[in-house]
Amino acid sequence: MVGGELALAAGPPSSGLPDAVVRGLVTGSVVAIGAIGLSLVYSIAEVPNFAHGELLTLGAYLAFLVNRPSVVPLYDVFVTGEGVVSTAGLAVLFALSTAAVLGVVRHLGGENALAGDWWSREVSPATGYAVHVGLAVAFGAVVVASTPSVFGGMLFSAVGLAAVAPVFEERVFNKFRERGDDLATLLIVALGLSFVLRFGVQAFYGGQVRAYDIPDVASLAGVELPLSAVQNVNVYGVDGGVVVQVVDTLPDPAVTTVVVGYGPVALAALAVVPLAAALAGYRWRGGSDDVFTSGQTVGPKLTAALAWLVATGVLVATLAGDATVPERYAWGTQLSPSVKRLSTLVIAAGMLTVLHLLLNETKLGVAMRAASDNLDLAKVTGINTRRVIVAAWIIAGLFSAIAGVMIGILFTSITPNTGFFFLLPIFGGVILGGVDSVYGAVLGSYVVGLSMELGIFFLPISGTLRVPVAFVVLLVVLLVKPEGLLGGS
C-alpha cells in the first residue's frame, strides 16, 4: 500500500473480500450439509438422486409444524392463538416426534433393530427397547419444550425426514435396483420422485412464499441473543497494527460493543504461532507409520486444522489490547455477520464432527465406508448391506432437513422450489470433490460456496447468477479432472 497522508481513509470501512469470504463459508456450510446426504446415497446406494433438492424442501416445510403451526394444513386446527398450540396439538407433536425416532431405528432392521442389534456391542433386548424408547420420549419432550423455536423445528424436521427418506429407498429405488436397472434409469426415476415430492408439497402447503417466524432477539439459557441483527465488525489498519471494532446494529443508533487493537508483534504472533501449532500437530499425529490401526479418527490433517483454530482463538483473546477507533486509517474492511449466519457455521461444524465420529468410531460407519468403496465386496465380507444403504438414506434425510431449515433461516423465504435451486450447487459440490468420498463432497461444497459468493463479488453480475457461477466452476473441474478433487483415477 502506498503510504502518505493522502491515502488515509476516514469513516467506517466498506465491506470487501473478507466479508465475501465469510458469506462464501456460510453458503458453503449449507451446501456441504446438503451435499453429505447426496454423496452418501450416491456412493453407497448408487442412486444419482435428482430428488435430493426436494428432501431439503421437505425438511424446510416440516419445521413449520413446530415453528409456525398456523400454516400447516390439518395441524392448524390445533392453533389457539398467535403461535400457540393447544395441548392436543402438543400431544400430536410429541407423538410424531417419538414415532420418528422409533421409525428411524426401525428402518435399521425392524423389531430386532429396536431391540438393539445394530449397536456396536451386544445388549439384551430389554435394554435395547428401553434405551430406544427412552431416547424417543426424551426427544419428543425436547421438541415439545422448544416450540415455537425454529431450532426446535430443525430438530423435529431432521429426525422426521430421517424417518421418511429411507421409505423412498425401500419403496422406490430398491425395486428398480433389484431388477438390475442401470444408473440412467435410476436417474430418471429420481426425477419422477422429485416431481412427486415437489408438487406434493405444493399441493399440501400451497405455493405461496413462506418464512419462518424468527424473533429479533431470542433468549437462550438466560442469554439474550440478537438473532437477525447484523454485527458489523470493522477492521482498521493503522501504524502496522490493526484495530477491531464490533458494532451492534440492533439498537438505533447502533452501539459499539467491543474495540480491541493488535500491535505489529501481536499480528506477527497471530500469523506464525497457529501455523507452528498446526505443523506440530500434524507431525505428532502423522508420526506413526501404522496407519491402519491407529489415530484415524483424529488424523494428522484434522489435528493440524484443530491446532490452528485453537491457537488462533487463544491468541486473539489473549493478545487483544485496548484501542480507540481511529479517525483515519490506511486500510479497512467491514465484516457483517449475524448470529443467524454464524449459527450456520457452528451447526455445520457440529454436524461434520458428528458425521466424522460416526464414520470412524462406529461399526455402522466403518461398514458404510467399506460399502462406499465397493458394495459387493462389503456384502461378501458379511456386512449387512441393506442396513448400510438404509443408514445412508437416514443420514441423507437428517442432513438435508437441517440444510433445508438453514436455507429457510438464512434466506427468509421458502417455496416448493427452494430445494431444487440448491440441487445444482449441491451436485456441484459432490462431483467437484469426487463422488466416492464424503470428505471430498464437503471440500467441494465449500469450494462451490466460496466461488458462488466470490464470483458475484469479483464479476460485474447480479446475484441471480450465483448458481451459474458455481456451475461454471463445476464444468471446468469436470472437463479438467472428471474424477473430482479427491477422487481416485
Binding site: 440412467a184 399441493a203 405455493g207 448458481v467
Partner: protein, 716 residues
C-alpha cells in the same frame, strides 16, 4: 357450450411439444444421451426467433423494452436461423459434455439449461430481463378471419346503388388454398391408411384384412366429398405405408377447387350484380366442414381397427371406467350449487351408493357376514366424518382423512384374515361395500337433521374426494389383477379405450347439458354442430376460418414435416449407428464408427428440433418469460418419450397426446371444484404425473407402444 376451441388449443400444444419430444427422442431414445437440459435449446429457439422478428428496441412501440438484435425479419428466415442457432448451441454443449459419464452428462446439461434460464432472467439488455418479451405479430395474422380479413370494397351496382363487398385478394387466396391443401392432403393420407391393411401394429387383429366394409366406405366417401376417397384409394398400397404423392395430389385438387370457388364465385356474382351468397364462406364451410366430418369418420375407423382385438367385456369395463369418473363428480356438481338441486343430488348419490353396494354384493357373492362387516365399517366411517364436514374448510380435509384412516385401518386388519384363505378379491369387494355405505352414511345426518346448502356442499365435496380415492385405488387394483379380471385384452388397451370413451362423453354429451338447460334443444343442436365441425369457427355471420385454427393447421403441417424428417433419419444407416452406439459404444467403435461424431450430430439435430418447437411456441404464446423455460419442461418432454415408447417417434407423439390430454382433462376436472381446492388439484396433478412416470418405468419400461422393431428383428 362448445369445446372445439379447447380442442384446437390442445392440438397446438400437442404439436409443439411433439416436435420438442421428437428432438429429445433422437438424443435420448435413439442415441442414449440423457439430455435433461433439452429445454435450453427450446429457450434458444424461442428467444432467437423472437429477437430476429421484433422491431428494433428503439422503435416507438417498444419503448419500455430493451433487447438486442430486433432486426424486423419475417418469420420463415427467423425460424430457420433460430433452428440453426439451437443446433450450433447443441454442438457447443456436446463437444465438451459428451465425453462425460452419463450421470455427469445429465447434471452438466441440466446445469446449462438452468444457466441459460438465469441469464435470460438477470441480463436485462439481452431480452428484457425478468419481464416478458413481446411485441411481435404472428405470421399472416392480417389475412384472418377468413372471410373478413380483406378490406371491404365499395361496388357500384348497375350504376345506381352501392354495396360493400369483401373481395378475396390474391395473397388471401393463396393462404386459403394452402390451408385446404394441407387439410385435404392429411385427409387423403388418412383414407389411404385406413384402406391399407395394418402391418406391424401389434394390437391390430382385423378379420377382413383391415379394409373398411361397404357402410364404412360409404361414410368415408361422403364425408370426404368423394375427392379424398378417390385420392386415398390411389394412395393406398397393398402393404406398407401409403404413397405420399397421390395423397398430396388429392390435397392439391381440393385446394385449387376451393380457391377457385371462392375467387371466381364472388366476382361472378359481382359481374351479375347480385350478392346473395358469400362464396368464400361457402368454400370455408364445405371444405373445412367436411374435412371435420372426415376426421371423425377416420378417427372412428382407426379406433375400430385399434380396438378390434379388445374383447367386448373389456371394452365394457373401459366404458365403465369412463362413466364412473363422471359419476364420482356427481355429488360435487349436484350439491355444489346448493338450492334446488339438493334433493335431486342426495337422491342421485343415494342411488350411486346403493348401486355400488348392490353391484359389489352381487358380483362377488359376499356372505351375510362379509356384507355386514363392510356396511358396518362404512356406516361408522361415514357417520364419524359427517359432523366434521359441517365446519367446512380444513375440517373437510380432516374429516376425509379420518374417514380414510378408519376405512384403511379396518380393511387392513381384515385383509390379513381374508389373505389367510387366499382371496384378495373378497377383501376388495368388502372395501367396495364399505365405500358405498360410507357414501350413504355421510349424508344420513344431513337428511335426518336437515342440513343447510353449505353443509351439503361440503359433504358433496367430501363424497367426491372419497369416491376419487376409491376410484384411483380401484383402478390400481384392477391393473394389478388384470390377468385374472380381464377377458383377454391388455390393461393398457382397456385404459386407452376408457380414455377415448371419456373424451367422447365429455366432448359430445356433457357439453349438451348446459345448452339444454338454458336454451333448449336448438341451443344443444347448435353446440353439437360446433363441436362436430371443429375445424370451422361457426360465427353468427356464418362459417369462418379464424387465426387459431389456421395456426393449428400450420403446426400440424410443421409437425408432419418434422416427423417425416426424423423417421427418415432414424431409418437411415445414420440412425442405425445411433442405436448401435446406445446399445454398446465399444462395438460401434470397433466397427470403425467415429462414435463421438455421431453423438454430436444427434445432439445438433435434436437441439435444432427443440429450437423449432421454441420458435413455434414464441408465435403461439405471443410473449416470452423466463419462467416458461423451467427445467420441468425437459422433464415433461422426457416423460412423453418414455410414455409412448423410447426410440419410437410415433410413441413420442403419443406421449405428447397423453400428457396434454391428461393436463387438459384434469384442468377441466379442477374447474368443478371450489377455488381453494382447485390450486391444490393443479399441483397434485403434476405430482401424479411424476408418480405415473415411476409406475410406467417400473411396470412398463418399454412404454405404451415400445420400441419399433427393426428389419432384422422382423426377419428373425
Amino acid at each position: 357450450m362448445a369445446l372445439a376451441g379447447s380442442l384446437i388449443s390442445l392440438g397446438v400444444l400437442i404439436c409443439i411439444y411433439g416436435i420438442l419430444s421428437l428432438g429429445l427422442n433422437l438424443k435420448f431414445g435413439y442415441n442414449g444421451l440423457l439430455d435433461i437440459g433439452h429445454v435450453a435449446f427450446y429457450l434458444i429457439g424461442a428467444y432467437g426467433a423472437a429477437l430476429l422478428v421484433l422491431p428494433p428496441s428503439s422503435a416507438p412501440t417498444q419503448q419500455y423494452a430493451t433487447y438486442i438484435l430486433g432486426l424486423g425479419w419475417t418469420w420463415p428466415p427467423a425460424i430457420a436461423a433460430a433452428m440453426l442457432v439451437a443446433g450450433v448451441a447443441g454442438m457447443l454443449v456436446a463437444l465438451p459434455a459428451i465425453r462425460l459419464r452419463e450421470d455427469y452428462l445429465a447434471i452438466a446439461v441440466l446445469g446449462i439449461s438452468v444457466v441459460a434460464k438465469r441469464v435470460v432472467q438477470s441480463e436485462s439488455w439481452l431480452a428484457n430481463g425478468p419481464t416478458s418479451l413481446k411485441g411481435w405479430s404472428a405470421p399472416l395474422t392480417g389475412a384472418f378471419p377468413m372471410p373478413g380479413g380483406d378490406p371491404a370494397v365499395e361496388v357500384v351496382l348497375f350504376g345506381v346503388g352501392f354495396v360493400n363487398v369483401t373481395l378475396f385478394s390474391l395473397p388471401t387466396a393463396l393462404v386459403f388454398g394452402a390451408v385446404v391443401f394441407v387439410v385435404w392432403s392429411i385427409v387423403s393420407y388418412g383414407v389411404a391408411s385406413v384402406a391399407t391393411p395394418a402391418t406391424g401394429e401389434r394390437s391390430a387383429v382385423v378379420a377382413d384384412g383391415g379394409r373398411p366394409g361397404r357402410l364404412r366406405s360409404t361414410a368415408l366417401a361422403v364425408s370426404t366429398l368423394g375427392l379424398g376417397y378417390a385420392a386415398g384409394s390411389r394412395a393406398a398400397t397393398r402393404d406398407g405405408p401409403p404413397a405420399l404423392r397421390p395423397a398430396l395430389a388429392g390435397g392439391a385438387v381440393a385446394g385449387v377447387v376451393a380457391t377457385a370457388l371462392a375467387l371466381v364465385g364472388d366476382r361472378f356474382e359481382l359481374a351479375l350484380g347480385v350478392a346473395t351468397l358469400d362464396f368464400f364462406q361457402l368454400a370455408v364451410g364445405v371444405f373445412l366442414g367436411f374435412a371435420s366430418f372426415a376426421s371423425w369418420v377416420l378417427a372412428a375407423l382407426f379406433a375400430e381397427r385399434h380396438y378390434a382385438g379388445l374383447p367386448r367385456r373389456d371394452a365394457l369395463a373401459g366404458l365403465g371406467m369412463a362413466v364412473a369418473l363422471v359419476v364420482l363428480l356427481s355429488p360435487l356438481i349436484l350439491l355444489g350449487g346448493g338450492g334446488a338441486d339438493t334433493a335431486l343430488g342426495v337422491a342421485v348419490i343415494g342411488l350411486v351408493g346403493v348401486g355400488i353396494v348392490a353391484g359389489v354384493v352381487r358380483l362377488a357373492a359376499l356372505s351375510t357376514r362379509e356384507v355386514g362387516v363392510g356396511v358396518g365399517l362404512g356406516l361408522a366411517a361415514g357417520v364419524a366424518a359427517a359432523p366434521a364436514t359441517a365446519v367446512g374448510g380444513t375440517a373437510v380435509w380432516a374429516g376425509a382423512l379420518a374417514l380414510l384412516a378408519a376405512v384403511g385401518y379396518g380393511t387392513t386388519r381384515l385383509r390379513g384374515q381374508w389373505a389367510a384363505y387366499g382371496d384378495g378379491g373378497r377383501f376388495t369387494a368388502v372395501a367396495g361395500v364399505t365405500v358405498g355405505t360410507g357414501l350413504l352414511a355421510v349424508f344420513l345426518p344431513a337428511v335426518l337433521l336437515g342440513g343447510g346448502p353449505e353443509f351439503l356442499a361440503s359433504t358433496g365435496l367430501l363424497a367426491t374426494l372419497v369416491l376419487a380415492v376409491a376410484y384411483v385405488a380401484g383402478l390400481y387394483h384392477l391393473g394389478a389383477n388384470w390377468d385374472r379380471v380381464g377377458a383377454g385384452g391388455s390393461f393398457v388397451q382397456t385404459v386407452g379405450f376408457a380414455t377415448v370413451s371419456l373424451f367422447l362423453l365429455r366432448y359430445f354429451l356433457l357439453t349438451l347439458v348446459q345448452p339444454l338447460k338454458t336454451g333448449g334443444v336448438g341451443a344443444a343442436a347448435n353446440s353439437l354442430l360446433r363441436n362436430l365441425v371443429w375445424l370451422v369457427n361457426v360465427t353468427p355471420a356464418g362459417p369462418a376460418l379464424n387465426y387459431r385454427r389456421f395456426f393449428f393447421l400450420l403446426v400440424v403441417g410443421v409437425l408432419a414435416l418434422a416427423y417425416v424428417a426424423t423417421e427418415r433419419t432414424v431409418k437411415s444407416p445414420f440412425g442405425r449407428v445411433l442405436k448401435a452406439i446406445r446399445e454398446d459404444e465399444d462395438v460401434a467403435t470397433a466397427l470403425g464408427k467415429n462414435t463421438f461424431r455421431f453423438k454430436v450430430q444427434s445432439m445438433i439435430i435434436g437441439s435444432a428440433l427443440a429450437g423449432l418447437a421454441g420458435a413455434l411456441a414464441a408465435i403461439y404464446f405471443g410473449a416470452l418469460v423466463h419462467t416458461m423455460f423451467a427445467p420441468r419442461i425437459t422433464f415433461v418432454a422426457l416423460l412423453m418419450v418414455v410414455i409412448g415408447g423410447t426410440a419410437n417417434n410415433k410413441g413420442a407423439l403419443l406421449g405428447a397426446v397423453v400428457f396434454w390430454g391428461f393436463q387438459t382433462a384434469t384442468q377441466d376436472l379442477a374447474a368443478f371444484f371450489p377455488t381453494e381446492i382447485r390450486a391444490k388439484i393443479q399441483a397434485l396433478r403434476l405430482a401424479f404425473i411424476g408418480a405415473l412416470f415411476m409406475l410406467i418405468l417400473y411396470y412398463r419400461p418399454e412404454g405404451i407402444w415400445g420400441e419399433e422393431r427393426t428389419t432384422m428383428e422382423d426377419v428373425e
